[in-house]
């Protein structure tokens, strides 16, 4: 457990202060990716767009997790715990979506009048 405890006086013990250049570089990369994702959204790529924007978002998320959240210096257990939560999210969303699409063929969008429609009938 205490494999880092034997550090010398001049080190920061178990702390791993991130260098400033790294923090700023990550921030700039994140801003750049945000601009990129806005740009790709304006291209009108259709089906591909969702995948692309999620892909960029995942790159951004990975940068945040690795550098801002210090995952690269963290214990592997913490990384495993965090990443495994997405397995359960996938399980949850996956099964629910699969089921909904399997039985929803017959269900159609239904008209629900909005409050203003009742007040002001169409001319």
């Amino acid at each position: 457990m205490s494999d880092h405890a034997a550090h010398g006086e001049h080190s920061h013990g178990f702390a791993h202060p991130a260098p400033v250049w790294q923090l700023i570089a990550v921030f700039l990369a994140l801003v750049g990716l945000t601009i990129l994702t806005c740009f790709q959204a304006s291209l009108g790529l259709g089906e591909l767009e969702l995948i692309l924007s999620l892909f960029i978002a995942t790159i951004k998320a990975t940068l945040v997790v690795l550098f801002f959240m210090h995952m690269i210096h963290d214990k592997p257990l913490n990384a495993i715990i965090f990443v495994s939560s997405f397995v359960f999210v996938a399980l949850f969303i996956g099964f629910t979506l699969m089921d909904a699409h399997a039985y929803r063929d017959t269900v159609e969008l239904k008209d629900v009048p909005s409050p203003r429609a009742i007040v002001a009938p169409a001319e």
Partner: protein, 343 residues
Amino acid sequence: MANDTATLDPAHAHGEHADGHGAHAHMPFQAHHFDDPEQQFDAGKLGMWIFLVTEVLFFSGMFCAYALYRSLHPEVWTFASQFLNEMLGAFNTGVLLFSSLTMAWGVRCAQLRQRTGLVICLAITLGCAAMFLGIKAVEYTHKWDMGLLPAGFYESQYLPGAHHTGLSSWLVRLCIIPGVLTVGFALWYLVTLIKGQKRHSEIAGPMLVTGLCFFLGAYLGIVIQSFEESSHGTISHDSHVAAGVDAGGHSDEPASRSPGDPLPEEIDQAGGAGLFFSIYYCMTGVHAIHILGGMVVLTWLLVRATKDQFNEQYFGPVDYVGLYWHLVDLIWIYLFPLLYLIK
């Protein structure tokens, strides 16, 4: 052996019971039941990561609802997303990313025992959080004025109705509490300056900045909003054009629409776009509540930072709050393209 005060605050009082603590027995913030500061830090960090797991699963419910209804009715999503202001969303993303940067920098300051640096970083983070909320307030109130509400209250955008112009009364109402707080912080800051209480002014100053940042955010939001509207015409009018329908009826449908697609009127109603806004408000609302919660713990950190309580052996709380703050940022990183960037 142990007395009541000892049970109340073990972090301060139980040092004398701890056998086998060795050289670290006098660490001021080491809880009695840990062997050394590193064990305490590791425990806290693991606990925080597990808490983040619960947060991820908490949000997964709403992402599930989102995925479900978007995959079932993609046309509703395309239609409704045009009412979201992409510029404001992108700007807010930038604000949150910057707050994440200052938060991570703050952790570095705590690890290096840079007291002033930590206070400044926390103050900027708090300011960014408030600015985010200010912009969000402008976005929300604009939609409330237009009747873009959750399904049960959704008002159709095609029907004649008084779309609001000028300063929203909702926005004014939302600004009451931040306004009162800002005035309070300003008074407190003045008092600390006059009395010369340096440490208190170091708390009151950032709080005042935070309050002001909310209004700066709201102002920027209004400016960006009006810029968008002037470049595209009013949103409400725009939507008719975008959907290819004029206010009188649906005579000139766009040629690209295939016969099987639902009519815009079928989308523009409580069970269509209303559902989108339900999910929009749930996701962004719960996210905003997390921002508010984050601001509370950041304030707590600020108070502790001014007391110079963090150092290379004890920086856990800053690190844990940082993890939480980055997760809130992380969720927004996904919310932004999923809600604002649908074309």
